[in-house]
């Protein structure tokens, strides 16, 4: 057994979450601006001209906007938030790499606060559910995600609570803000669970070298 000897190998602390929280706050500020400021038709037209190239990358944008009274406006709100998705991914994997020793130590310490039953069930459900979500994102299976917008489109199968996005600009803005951080976090959470599965099942393992 070894002890934690230096800061580089120490487990992550809550204060180290600042990069992701700051990015979330910045995205929220941008979302608020998009919600409050109604662009003029000239600005809207200019923004929409650069949207088509990005719209192809995110299928949910076109599907949701199709049902809106003002498709251009909703496209802008949604696409601007999806620009944050790669930034979220970069922060997750650069600052908190799931394969690092620090992550294994963090997981090991987190496991000490959870019972074995909770860990085992959580790990199993987590890998299956997050895996299904990612397969749905890649359209390998028919699983609804925020990326493919199957929770809100078509309307006949939409989640009743989420149908609010079609009648409320605020609800659409919140939905747009939540989608990218959720999708990026799912990728990271899935890798953390898979790469540290042994640690979850036997928490003492990562402390020995």
């Amino acid at each position: 057994m070894t002890t934690i000897s230096n800061a580089d190998d120490s487990p992550y602390s809550r204060s180290e979450l600042r990069p992701i929280l700051r990015c979330l706050a910045a995205a929220a500020a941008v979302a608020a601006i998009c919600c409050l400021v109604v662009p003029s038709s000239a600005v809207k037209t200019a923004l929409v001209q650069i949207i088509p190239s990005l719209r192809r990358l995110v299928p949910s944008v076109a599907n949701i906007s199709r049902e809106m009274l003002d498709p251009e406006e909703s496209e802008i709100i949604l696409i601007v938030q999806w620009w944050f998705a790669p930034i979220y991914l970069f922060i997750w994997f650069y600052f908190y790499p799931p394969w690092s020793l620090r992550m294994r130590r963090t997981v090991a310490i987190a496991c000490q606060t959870l019972s074995e039953v909770k860990r085992t069930i959580g790990l199993t459900i987590g890998i299956l559910f997050l895996g299904a979500w990612l397969l749905g994102d890649f359209q390998i299976i028919d699983f609804p995600t925020f990326y493919n917008a199957k929770y809100v489109y078509p309307l006949t199968e939409a989640v009743p609570q989420l149908k609010l996005i079609y009648i409320s600009r605020v609800a659409l803005t919140i939905y747009a803000w939540v989608g990218p951080i959720v999708e990026a976090s799912i990728v990271w959470m899935f890798f953390v669970l898979v790469l540290n599965a042994k640690t979850y099942l036997s928490p003492q393992r990562p402390l020995s070298t």
Partner: protein
């Protein structure tokens, strides 16, 4: 305001720990301010779902009520499960529990809503179907 929130948090935390209810929940909303903040998506979804169910029922839209009711129950169950998965990540749970709540909640609401609609359409709860008397026997 911060001091007030901190005091409320500390008091509720202590109260529910003493009462053995720290991890308890009511309609998807867990006790204590930190838990409440992390479960806002589930709580809001539950409240909206209950309102939608009641509204659809009062308007005579029984299919909609069945769908919204199923979505509400499924959403609450899913949010609880998702939050449990999010709790596996130690210090990252500030982000991962809300994310788990959201993804579990929407997935649960999606499949719960479909189940509610299927149950209604299967005739298990023909609330709005007029009672049709059986045809007279042919002689």
């Amino acid at each position: 305001m911060g001091a007030g929130l901190a005091t409320y948090s500390a008091l509720t935390d202590q109260f529910y720990t003493t009462a053995g209810l720290r991890s308890g929940s009511l309609f998807g909303i867990r006790y204590g301010l930190p838990a409440l903040l992390s479960d806002i998506p589930g709580g809001v979804g539950g409240v909206i779902g209950v309102y939608q169910t009641a509204s659809a029922y009062n308007n005579g839209n029984y299919l909609g009520a069945s769908q919204a009711g199923g979505a509400t129950l499924g959403g609450i169950a899913g949010a609880e499960g998702g939050a449990a998965v999010g709790a596996l990540f130690g210090p990252f749970d500030v982000v991962t529990i809300p994310v788990g709540t959201v993804i579990g909640g929407v997935a649960g609401a999606y499949y719960g809503g479909r189940a509610g609609a299927s149950i209604y359409n299967s005739g298990f709860m023909p609330l709005d179907a007029p009672l049709v008397p059986p045809p007279p026997p042919a002689y």
